[in-house]
């Protein structure tokens, strides 16, 4: 469902050119749960931006849900993000003046869906993440874990092809982080494709598939035998080139 083929991306920082992605190829199937791991500067943020259609690669092909994203313009990218990508950020990125419900509704507003249906679906999503009793709270009235749940509900609402979570537990304490993580796992069990971007080894290795990134290239792509299993925590080395 996601096919990246030789994706390259460079940034010029003053006089020097930095290679953020130096030919990344990756294939992610529908229903997968995968972690992209790497230290800061490894290019994982750039890769996430490319997968999330916030950024376009300099070269290479990226096919998302059957559509080549490569040469698309801003507004087309916005539409693809709206339909196919659900973002979950480290700092939640909720609109501070909107209630939980209104935050969750937001993607459907940009899809032009009428208020009644939007509200119904948003309520349903909030219920799914266990916040049925917090719908009218502002983000400032919610705990960190609850805010992240709102963000997850918002990411889920449009029924996107992929949930893209960037350090989703980074701003949470360990226990809450684990709760959020198990929410992702639970969602994955029900068929949602989840991509987790993190630098945290423990977090990453909970995923059945771990892609290691270093200096803009994939250094390892490890799969745990059964896609659903999370029992094994040690990464098996199996290069995928």
């Amino acid at each position: 469902m996601i096919t990246l083929n030789d994706i390259r991306k460079q940034y010029s920082m003053g006089p020097t050119t930095v290679t953020a992605l130096g030919g990344v190829s990756l294939k992610i199937d529908s229903g997968e749960y995968l972690a992209i791991m790497g230290p800061s500067g490894s290019g994982k943020s750039t890769l996430m931006n490319v997968i999330g259609c916030l950024d376009t690669p300099d070269s290479g092909s990226y096919v998302l849900a059957g559509e080549e994203v490569g040469g698309l313009q801003r507004d087309d990218l916005a539409e693809i993000r709206n339909r196919h990508v659900g973002f979950v950020f480290q700092v939640f990125n909720l609109l501070p003046r909107a209630t939980a419900l209104e935050n969750v509704e937001l993607p459907l507003i940009y899809r032009g869906i009428a208020a009644g249906r939007r509200r119904r679906e948003a309520l349903q999503m909030l219920e799914q993440v266990g916040l049925a009793d917090r719908v009218d709270h502002l983000p400032s009235e919610l705990s960190g874990g609850q805010r992240q749940r709102v963000a997850i509900a918002r990411a889920l609402i449009g029924n996107p092809s992929v949930i893209l979570a960037d350090e989703p537990t980074g701003a949470l304490d360990t226990a809450t982080g684990l709760e959020i993580l198990s929410l992702f796992e639970q969602l994955n069990h029900s068929g949602v494709t989840v991509i987790l971007v993190t630098h945290d080894h423990d977090l990453a290795t909970r995923a059945p598939r771990v892609v290691q990134l270093l200096d803009g290239t994939v250094t390892s792509d490890d799969r745990v035998g059964n896609a659903a299993g999370r029992s094994s925590r040690q990464p098996e080395a199996s290069r995928c080139e």
Binding site: L54, E79, I109, G112, A114, G158
Partner: protein
Amino acid sequence: MRVVANLIMLWENAAMSVRSILSNRARSFLTALGVIIGVASVITLTALGQGARVSVEQRMSTLGANLLIVYSGEPRGTSLVRPRTTNIRPTLTGEDLALITSLGEELVVSTAPESALSGQLKFRTRNTAATVIGTDPHYPEIRNFHPTYGSFFTSADMEQRRNVVVLGIQTYRDLFPDGADPLGESVRINGFPFRVIGIMEEKGSPSQDASAIIPFSTYRRSLSGEDRYAMINVQATSPEVMYELQDRIEQELLSLRGLPSMELADFYVANQMDLIGTVTEVADTFTLLLGGIAAISLLVGGIGIMNIMLVSVAERTSEIGIRMALGAKSSHLMTQFLTEAVILSAGGGIIGVGLGYALAWGVQQFGGLLTLVTPEAVAVAFSFAAFTGLFFGVYPAYRASRLDPIEALRHE
């Protein structure tokens, strides 16, 4: 389907804008204040201008409706109210008067000849100077100047050259300071005894209030010895025929005198329409000027809106980033911020209209100036305000819509 989605977006934008405006009430109010003051001042100042126009028109009509005055002497301007009404060398004859009257009832309602001189009035030991006017019984009707007490003289008084006088209110007050009933009392005018038969209403004009009005026949025999008239008041049937009537009078009197053109005439015709035209023109210019000054303040208000919108876009960079990540297109963000600017300015416009009405009312109530709020002024001020928001909102909205989503998300 696309149209429905767009309509939904528009509605959502309005709702989002209102929420964002309300969440920052103090700032929103201060932002809109420029527009509020601008709109209110446009409305108040044009109301003052139009009020001045109306009050001038009202004053004009107190001179008498559809009034033409044929004056003796060389033409000088078109002034209906001359600084000096007494001691004009009279050149208008009874023949002239008859000619004008005979122009027909489709043009002329009635005519009243008039001459005046400065006279000395005496009642017992009291003395006063007054404009002594000799005229005929049509005078009150034509000049819209009626007795407030007693009555005006009649055709019989005129024919029999009775020594009767109607006093102007000021003259009455000078001669009867204790407020005594003057009817039947004998007043001396330049030594001749006259019986008081009425008091004229107050007009606020010295030449009319400090007057003593007597039949022209008596005036000629006792005071002036001159049978020509200084002026002839003519009441036209309607405002529409006034220029036609003026033309006819000029032609008839010229041909009676065997003169080729008005340049050589010993009379001239003052037309009320000219005066009203001049005065309302001045009032309209005044209105335009005031409105223009107020419009500048509206412009400044618009710049204030742009300023705040730019700050708002900068402040809400991360919000913009979030919206972009969730699928907002450039047009969505553009309309969101534009809607916000327009709601601020249109909201300010509505408050401004209310304030403008209140101020105009206040000025009239407590400042004693007549004000008139015209629907045109309200419409122009309001739409200008809304347009200001649109115009000055474009640049900040464009900035918002062009942000890089990654940069915007990273912001803060």
